[in-house]
């Protein structure tokens, strides 16, 4: 198919959940790609600055002459270009709307609430931040019920858009659990999500791109150390 010809590259980092979204989507479509790792702490590469001049962020997808930025936009692009391979977005418009709605919620509300835990100063603030994330997970547990309709993934029998949008955060979620000593996903409040998380991380499209929790935790310590050293909070 002419449209899907052309070299595919992903500019990104191994630790970024947003970069992971692009890689999972390409894996679902069995598309070979070159992964160009940015070492963001050492300064952004010329390629990154040229291909994403507006935001200068990863991920960037380079497909032939096309450059695409913003992880969820990249995932939709991948779904639309490699349209004969397994679909990422659901088929039915209302289910597509539901998947987009929750993906936007994850980016605009839930993930920022998780980041807020690491930035909270003082025990009260930390507890409040953790509480917000837990409430958010209960909502996502309900969303899972509505979207999956008894099947293994948000997308149904296979990983789909919302699985990718949410699942990419599982590495960081586990790091947060390690650092707080609290099981954010648990049998009491989020029994379905707990099982879904194992299924997601074991999936062929995911397992080689999901970073190990230990490695991510070390990386988190390093970033926080650098940020404190640089006088930022």
């Amino acid at each position: 198919m002419a449209k899907s010809d052309g070299e595919v590259k992903v500019l990104g980092t191994w630790s970024s959940p947003f970069v992971m979204r692009a890689r999972i989507a390409l894996n679902i479509k069995s598309v070979n790609y070159e992964f160009l790792q940015e070492r963001l702490w050492e300064g952004k590469s010329d390629l990154l600055l040229q291909s994403n001049p507006v935001h200068k962020k990863v991920p960037v997808l380079i497909h032939g002459h096309n450059t695409i930025c913003e992880s969820l936009i990249i995932v939709q692009y991948i779904d639309e270009v490699w349209s004969s391979a397994p679909s990422i977005l659901p088929f039915e418009p209302h289910e597509r709307a539901e998947a987009r709605f929750w993906a936007a919620h994850l980016d605009e509300k839930w993930f920022p609430s998780m980041r807020a835990i690491g930035m909270a100063e003082g025990e009260d603030a930390r507890r409040a931040a953790i509480g917000q994330v837990e409430e958010g997970l209960v909502l996502l547990e309900e969303a899972f019920g509505e979207c999956s309709k008894g099947r293994p993934f948000f997308g149904g029998d296979r990983i789909g858009y919302l699985d990718i949008a949410f699942g990419c955060f599982l590495g960081w979620l586990r790091v947060t659990e390690k650092m707080t000593g609290i099981r954010l996903l648990n049998e009491t409040n989020t029994p379905h999500l707990l099982k879904w998380a194992h299924r997601f991380c074991s999936d062929d499209a995911v397992k080689d791109v999901m970073p190990e929790t230990e490695k991510l935790a070390e990386f988190a310590k390093m970033i926080m150390g650098r940020m404190r050293g640089a006088g930022k909070s």
Binding site: I68, I74, Q76, Y77, H94, R100, F101, H105
Partner: protein, 230 residues
């Protein structure tokens, strides 16, 4: 029309997000029932249809509710396929979605933050918004008609608030963002938008908007927590 084919739109008279959805429905020629919500006195209907955010717009179709204007626009485009809002080509679709997100986060949020803040915070928000407008100007430059091409499309709809709301916010906020000398392509695009049959007569009454945004910006400017949307 069978009951479940009916389209309902929950809205609020001054919401630019609701206006977007109305434009999209009109472009597609979809008949809908408009239900006005008082967002300061929310009905149980709104709470039931949008339990997470309790906000408008909410589109109801086939008995199911869809919330968030960006999500609703894509739903409308996928459900009624004539007069497409997004381009067909995947790369062009990605580009439209990219600039729509940029416009929302950098121009809309920036202008709103500038409206509702004072002093240094206001200046920073203004500066950021103007820089973002420059990038939007770059996207509009060279477009003879609309961002969607010959007809209005997704990005025109997302940015459409600029054509009327921005000037109201500038007056209320004593600030200047849009400058036809600095942004000539944007200024021409705004003129064409304002003449478009689907857009031209649908704006809320200007004097009411001035009163409303004056009250809102004062209320939000004096509160200690973060910005709320319209």
């Amino acid at each position: 029309m069978a009951a479940e084919e009916e389209v309902k739109l929950l809205g609020f008279w001054v919401s630019p997000f609701v206006l977007r959805v109305e434009w999209a429905l009109k472009i597609k020629g979809v008949k809908y029932e408009y239900i006005e919500e008082d967002i300061f006195n929310k009905t149980s209907l709104l709470m039931e249809l949008n339990p997470l955010y309790k906000k408008v717009p909410v589109l109801v179709h086939h008995g199911k509710a869809i919330a968030e204007s960006f999500v609703i626009l894509e739903y409308i485009d996928e459900t009624w396929k004539h007069n497409p809002l997004l381009p067909q080509d995947p790369h062009q679709r990605a580009t439209s979605r990219f600039w729509a997100k940029f416009a929302e986060q950098q121009v809309f949020e920036g202008a709103w933050n500038a409206l509702c803040s004072q002093g240094e915070t206001k200046q920073r928000a203004l500066q950021g918004t103007i820089e973002s407008m420059e990038k939007i100007e770059g996207q509009i430059e060279g477009k003879e008609q609309f961002l969607g091409g010959e007809s209005i499309g997704y990005l025109d709809i997302i940015l459409g608030w600029v054509c009327y709301y921005l000037e109201v916010w500038e007056e209320v906020g004593c600030m200047k963002i849009m400058d036809p000398v600095k942004f000539p392509a944007t200024a021409s695009w705004m003129k064409r938008m304002l003449q478009h049959p689907v857009i031209k007569d649908g704006w809320p009454p200007r004097e009411k908007m001035i009163v409303y945004f004056r009250q809102r910006s004062e209320a939000l400017g004096s509160s200690s927590h973060g910005w709320l949307r319209v």
